[in-house]
Symmetry: C2
Subunit: 556 residues, 2 copies
């Protein structure tokens, strides 16, 4: 065990060094790119993303989130990241949207402390054991040792539920539905990746208590639908709604529902967000009971849910939409939806003409502001329009609006879509209606494109030998599955490329990673290939009968 720990530690160190190297390199590149153009030299060559999304996806991702100014590596402590305004705009848009919806449902906001005491952790060891290796411990304040060490919350069940037991005194106190927006700390040993796996992340965690399983179950699905809404309506990312298998559900819970995403570039599935029914497990642990209104004198344990959505969603969005020019942002969550770039304005332009041009642009911006469009204008001096185009493309701004004397003469503004590169003109008199429409079109088209890709790569498989080729073709697969946990473990082993095949695989750039179950989709495929309880489970070693189509894939 010790040796393994040492090994993974050294792997981690190596990974961290690589990440830091990449970060430094990117920072240097960023510094370069900020140099103004001197003496008419074309600066276009020294800007932009240097890694190819198709060829080196992981490096591409890290370069994009850095150069687009979404994150900054926190040099002081590895595994931590600064979220810059472009990211925080996305998160706060999601927050407002989700908060509005849960308020309508009757969920209230609360704020519980950052720390858990060792004493209360010891009380519910089972739940905590999974988090134990990742707990950050405070044992000293100032120069005084604390009597009892405290851990920073990795999640707040153990912080909150003692108070649920105190506050819930009667069935009239139900449902109790609280949510908090906070950050949690999980001191990961694995390599960290911006947004996807970080030692601190922002999230919301909802914790609710209900009288019956039915009421709890209804909420689980309502929240899951809101999570799907965050992906589909805001981030233009399609997801599959489903239930986790027993192997993949939240350890302390009863069942877990999930929205699952798909990364086309590497064909990997990615968990989007989960909404858990905890059943009565925690209410038994924390003694949260009420008198049964149907059976006076009898006490029942309440039914609990917990559900969380984290800044991971931003990473998924970047991976799905980005391209070799950088970030591509869906308009609804873009901090800047449209960027005005003046063209044809140069040293020969008179100050009067320049002023007039500026005023026209500001008028357009004011018109757009009135209809709720967030625009900026880029009057930075010393940069060519082409350099600016690249810069804003890298940052993912959905719509570029070029405006020059020629446009002014025709009373139009020229546009260029970030997602498709499509170009055209819009009469200035119509921008108040046409540009909001165009932004919604971009939003819809981005979703459609991602949806088509996910649909195309979600493949129904009925022969075992088709599994590995499908994974190598960047599919996630739907297979008839018996739902047994041991069978699931075995499927992962069977789809992991054996040592002796690795060299071949590496030459062909095929991953060795085995597949795991992503979810049991609520929407089961049509067709007669699976008759529950009769059709055989796809695993050739399994003698069980298939119960459901289950989505499997290589995954994050």
């Amino acid at each position: 065990m010790e040796a393994v720990a040492e090994q993974s530690k050294s792997a981690l160190k190596k990974a961290e060094k690589q990440a830091k190297f990449a970060a430094d390199k990117a920072a240097k590149a960023a510094k370069k790119q900020a140099l103004p153009v001197v003496g008419g030299k074309k600066a276009d060559e020294i800007i932009g993303i240097t890694n190819s999304k198709a060829e080196n996806f992981s490096a591409w991702y890290q370069e994009v989130v850095l150069k687009a100014e979404m994150v900054e590596y926190y040099q002081e402590i590895s595994g931590f990241f600064v979220l810059r305004p472009l990211s925080m705009h996305i998160w706060s848009t999601i927050r407002k949207w989700f908060q509005g919806h849960i308020e309508e449902l009757g969920v209230e906001e609360a704020s519980f402390p950052l720390f858990l005491s060792k004493t209360s952790l010891d009380k519910e060891k089972d739940h905590v054991d999974g988090f134990a290796p990742e707990l950050a411990w405070v044992e000293r304040a100032g120069d005084k040792k604390l009597d009892v060490p405290v851990a920073i919350r990795p999640t707040s069940e153990a912080v909150m539920y003692p108070y649920y037991a105190k506050w819930i005194r009667s069935h009239r106190d139900l449902p109790l539905r609280l949510n908090q927006w906070n950050s949690v700390v999980r001191w990961e040993a694995k390599q960290t990746t911006p947004f996807l796996r970080t030692r601190e992340f922002l999230w919301q965690e909802g914790h609710t208590a209900h009288l019956t399983e039915e009421l709890a179950g209804k909420e689980v699905l309502e929240i899951l639908e809101l999570y799907a809404g965050v992906y589909e309506q805001l981030l233009a990312v399609p997801v599959v709604r489903g239930r986790k298998t027993e192997n993949e559900k939240f350890a302390g819970g009863y069942y877990t529902t999930t929205v699952e995403g798909y990364i086309p570039s590497n064909g990997r599935g990615i968990q989007g967000a989960t909404s858990h029914c905890l059943g009565q497990n925690f209410s038994k642990m924390f003694q949260i009971t009420v008198e049964d209104p149907q059976n006076k004198g009898q006490h029942v344990h309440v039914w609990q849910n917990s559900w969380g959505l984290s800044t991971r969603v931003i990473g998924v969005m970047v991976m799905v939409h980005g391209d070799d020019k950088g970030l591509v942002l869906p308009p609804r969550i873009a901090q800047t939806q449209a960027i005005f770039v003046p063209v044809g304005i140069n040293k020969n332009t008179t100050p009067e003409d320049r002023k007039k041009h500026e005023d026209q642009m500001e008028d357009m911006r004011a018109t757009l502001k009135k209809v709720g469009v967030r625009s900026q204008s880029d009057w930075r001096e010393g940069y060519t329009p082409a350099w600016k185009f690249n810069d804003w493309e890298m940052k993912g701004v959905p719509l570029r609006l070029e405006f020059g004397p020629k446009d002014a003469a025709k009373e139009v503004v020229s546009f260029s879509r970030r997602d498709t590169g499509e170009k055209g003109t819009i009469p200035i008199a119509e921008i108040g209606t046409k540009i909001p429409e165009l932004l919604e079109t971009i939003q819809a088209d981005m979703y459609k494109k991602a949806e088509a890709s996910f649909t195309e790569h979600r493949k129904k498989i009925t022969k075992w030998e088709d599994v590995l080729p499908a994974l190598d073709d960047k599919h996630v697969v739907l297979i008839p599955f018996c739902l047994d946990g041991k069978c699931e473990d075995r499927i992962k082993e069977l789809t992991t490329r054996a040592e002796d095949n690795r060299d071949v695989a590496e030459n062909q750039k095929l991953p060795s990673m085995g597949m795991k179950s992503l979810c049991i989709p609520f929407e089961q495929p049509e067709g007669s290939e699976l008759v529950p309880g009769e059709t055989a489970c796809l695993n050739p070693e399994c003698s069980g009968k298939a119960q459901k189509w289950v989505m499997f894939g290589r995954s994050y």
Copy 2:
């Protein structure tokens, strides 16, 4: 020193025990109060606030915030509190309001890590020294010792400014204006009080960088005005805007501006929120420079500001408005602005009549919702209307709306104002206009009342011998002051009641606490009693000349 530490430790233990005792007592009382009425017994006697605001202010405060369900003591770790929905509604209302305003100013949102490394802390020792005794240290994650210990941020200057140095490469990157909403940890040794002094608290911290002192100074005041707006427009609490003396300013900064509140019950001043100009102190420490656009080749250090507003504001609001019945909430920040209580509905009411009554009430609620009024209806069974009245009064709901068959017959709803107790009726047909108006009237009246009290207790003093009597009469005082730091220290000593006077004071319940400077009000009193540089400083031992009227007081 050790002895002193021991002494203060034992005092702390004692204080904590007292607080816990109070909390337990309050919790027991709360449990009692939740018992339904059985057999027609009057439950009114066992509900409500037991401490008098006038006679035992501190106990009254702690009882109110607990029983009104604003906070819960975190039993697991002392000095921490759970903020319950009623508090979080206030905080999130403030957050939305402030966030909207700073966005308009061009401030962007960011999120920096929770931790500071020991290495970076050591770099800027001077700034950190003040916080050192309160830093919570993480030295272990899981069962691994960290190579370098990390501290939880007590504030984020040292976390953020290395990145300001990195991001600010040219004057075109200015201003850089970032704000984050987070929680910080200061492991206070002093006794904690909900909202006012807690070991973790929620706040926003804005950190900005500007090219010139003038631009920085302009922002300092714009933000201060927003802080005043939070108090005056949302919380109905009057404040005095001013500048801190050198003694009282933020240690690392250039100058500090502040909004100062006043607690009528004990005549103490309380710092509301501060907006600091840091000058170039931090930009020198962190080497944040740009090329001077006026002098090519010359580098200048940027001018920085920082400003913060915390959940303390909620405590100030409770202290100013609350009364012996409990909390009194200004309508703009009340989670429930109007509570419908059915009256005259009893065992003899037919189910049809009851249903009709319920429907009428729901119709009214729908009407109010349309005009943006947040209302609830209290149909809890087993409680008398009188018990419900008390319960909602304790929770501070601004407006009670009673509705019974008699009201229905007259097509009116009866109201009772929480702030004044005033009663009346409103025709149902007019509630959509009259109730929003009434809520705004309540908001305005609460502010006026608090304003009158602050104005009345802000006393211009020109004779030293009038100072102590004024303080004992619960005034804060405006005195001609030389602005010298040592003189200020001496004033505090001179106004601290000497040991031999303490017995007398204690018999008369007069505090021994000396006064400190609260601020140099921007709005200086009119009148010829102070000629700057000529009038003597009020301190009889001081030979200096007064420069300004300065507000002094006993304070939090």
